[in-house]
């Protein structure tokens, strides 16, 4: 059983993603906007004892902080340095925007909305966790 962090401001999408994660047999930890994740990172950095998630799934456009900003900060924290980060977006990104987020934000994968098929999404995300495990 793995712990997956989910940050998504659209309530129904958040519920959907959380439900999918449960169906796949993992535990979702949900945040309803970017600021809440930021605050959580603050507490984390101050040494509050927290379980480290196995995968981080965040929307890009959220109130407070954007997904790519959060990813950038996470990559500066030793505990989260190697955790796979996946961003979600409903907006078309140019190749250069995509490349910038991957490079500067340390993002491993970007998925477009509407989200891919349930099975395909599952395969993609699990493969990512596997890849990260074998490389570290």
């Amino acid at each position: 059983m793995l712990l997956w962090l989910v940050a998504e401001d659209e309530p129904d999408i958040r519920v959907l993603v959380a439900t999918m994660i449960q169906v796949w047999g993992h535990v979702p930890v949900t945040f309803e906007n970017g600021q809440k994740v930021w605050d959580w990172l603050d507490r984390f950095e101050k040494g509050a004892g927290m379980t480290i998630p196995d995968l981080i799934l965040m929307d890009i456009r959220m109130p407070g902080k954007r997904g790519n900003e959060l990813a950038q900060r996470m990559r500066t924290m030793p505990q989260l340095e190697q955790i796979p980060i996946v961003l979600m977006t409903a907006f078309a990104l140019s190749d250069s925007e995509r490349a910038e987020m991957m490079r500067e934000g340390g993002v491993d994968h970007i998925i477009g909305k509407p989200l891919p098929d349930f099975e395909q999404l599952r395969a993609t995300l699990h493969k990512l966790i596997e890849q990260k495990r074998t490389t570290t």
């Binding site: 129904d12 999408i13 907006f91 509407p114």
Partner: protein, 402 residues
């Protein structure tokens, strides 16, 4: 008396002759002079008259030309070969404000860019593509042309200016709409698709929460599609409404109830105040009126920050009309946005007190729908606002006949 000296005689004779000659020549010259004068005067007078007539014609022509230029709804600016502005008509003045604005704008550059360019045999040769420039909050479209005289000599350049603010806005709004609609339609679609996958792949009966989420998103999608169809009907001017008797107080509570999750999530509080409740009945289309008022409320919710208040009131205006008001303590509407807020897809640039741009989701046609629906019911809606002071939307509807 002595006999005259012969010398004296000859002298006086000579003097006499000279005198005669003198007076004769004087007469001749004076006659000549007079004749000449008369002819010259006549000629001068004739010429004068001709010049006066020509001047009159020309000034009439000029007046006519000026009044045509002034009456044009296009701006006309002309520059001579030395770069001086020799003509700026009324509309051009209105567009540009003052001459300095003109030279500071890209249009001034455009003029200078074509100063050395020669025209052809035609009297008016358009140069380059039409250009657009933003001046004083307006988008001005400009076409520049060379003006040539009868012998083909270059007289200067002329620029025709047109206010294309609305067209430009329309284009931008359309682009925004395409982006917005794909996002807005995709979100409920993604939920419906995802939830169905989850339900299909999990064993046993699906849980209630999933089904509710699914149903709500089907409803959202359905509503968006109906509203899109409504909007195309509304834009075409054709709009049919049902006629049911609707209790306004009940309608308001249903409108507020429908948005209570979002209101709660946004940290706002909404009060409903109804006076003369039993007299507040309208005839119309319940669903569309609910959506119309829903858009007024949603607008208030979107543009009011956490901790704000929204007040929905209804009361009798007079024996035949009732008033519904939605007021908020939100960001308010800027003066420059006010004329356009009921336009389809228009979105003002509202900012919070901290200066953050408010950019809510949605298609940007809520107020457009609200106004059209209310007008289709024989009523109307207007807004009053000041930035930072909140907004008040007032709808007046005819009461149902008993």
């Amino acid at each position: 008396m002595t006999l005259p000296d012969p010398e004296d005689r000859s002298l006086s004779d000579a003097l006499y002759r000279v005198n005669r000659l003198g007076s004769a020549s004087e007469k001749l010259f004076s006659r000549l002079y007079q004749g000449m004068n008369r002819r010259a005067l006549d000629e001068l007078q004739n010429e004068n008259q001709a010049i006066r007539d020509a001047l009159k014609r020309r000034s009439a022509e000029l007046n006519r030309l000026n009044s045509i230029l002034a009456a044009l709804d296009q701006g006309v600016v002309m520059q001579d070969n030395d770069g001086r502005l020799v003509l700026v008509n009324r509309i051009a003045k209105e567009f540009l404000g003052n001459v300095k604005n003109f030279w500071d704008s890209p249009l001034g550059d455009l003029f200078n860019q074509y100063r050395g360019v020669e025209g052809g045999a035609d009297s008016l040769v358009p140069l380059g593509e039409p250009t657009r420039a933003e001046i004083g909050g307006r988008v001005i479209g400009a076409q520049i042309a060379i003006v040539s005289g009868e012998q083909g000599e270059r007289l200067g350049t002329i620029m025709i200016l047109r206010d294309v603010t609305r067209e430009t806005l329309g284009e931008r709004l359309k682009e925004h709409f395409i982006t917005a609609i794909s996002h807005e339609l995709r979100t409920p679609m993604a939920v419906i698709k995802g939830m169905s996958d989850v339900i299909a792949s999990s064993e046993g009966a699906p849980n209630r929460r999933l089904l509710e989420t699914l149903a709500r998103n089907v409803e959202i999608l359905d509503r968006m599609i109906v509203e899109l169809l409504d909007v195309s009907e509304l834009s075409g001017g054709e709009f049919s409404i049902r006629s049911e008797r609707i209790d306004v107080e009940d309608l308001l509570w249903r409108v507020v109830g429908g948005q209570s999750p979002e209101i709660k999530r946004s940290g706002l509080d909404v009060s409903v105040l109804v006076r003369d409740a039993s007299a507040l009945v309208v005839t119309g289309d319940d669903q569309r009126l609910r959506w119309a008022l829903g858009h007024l409320l949603q607008n208030a919710v979107h543009y009011t920050e956490q901790g704000g208040h929204i007040l929905v009131t209804a009361s009798l205006t007079d024996a035949a009309h009732l008033t519904i008001q939605v007021s908020d303590t939100g960001a308010g509407i800027r003066d420059q946005d006010m004329p356009y807020i009921f336009d389809r897809f228009y979105r003002g640039k509202a900012r919070t007190v901290q200066g953050r741009l408010i950019d809510p989701r949605g298609l940007g046609q809520g107020l457009f729908i609200a106004q059209k629906v209310i007008q289709a019911h024989g009523g109307d809606v207007a807004a009053a606002s000041a930035p930072g002071q909140g907004s008040v939307f007032t709808a007046v509807l005819p009461r149902a006949e008993r």
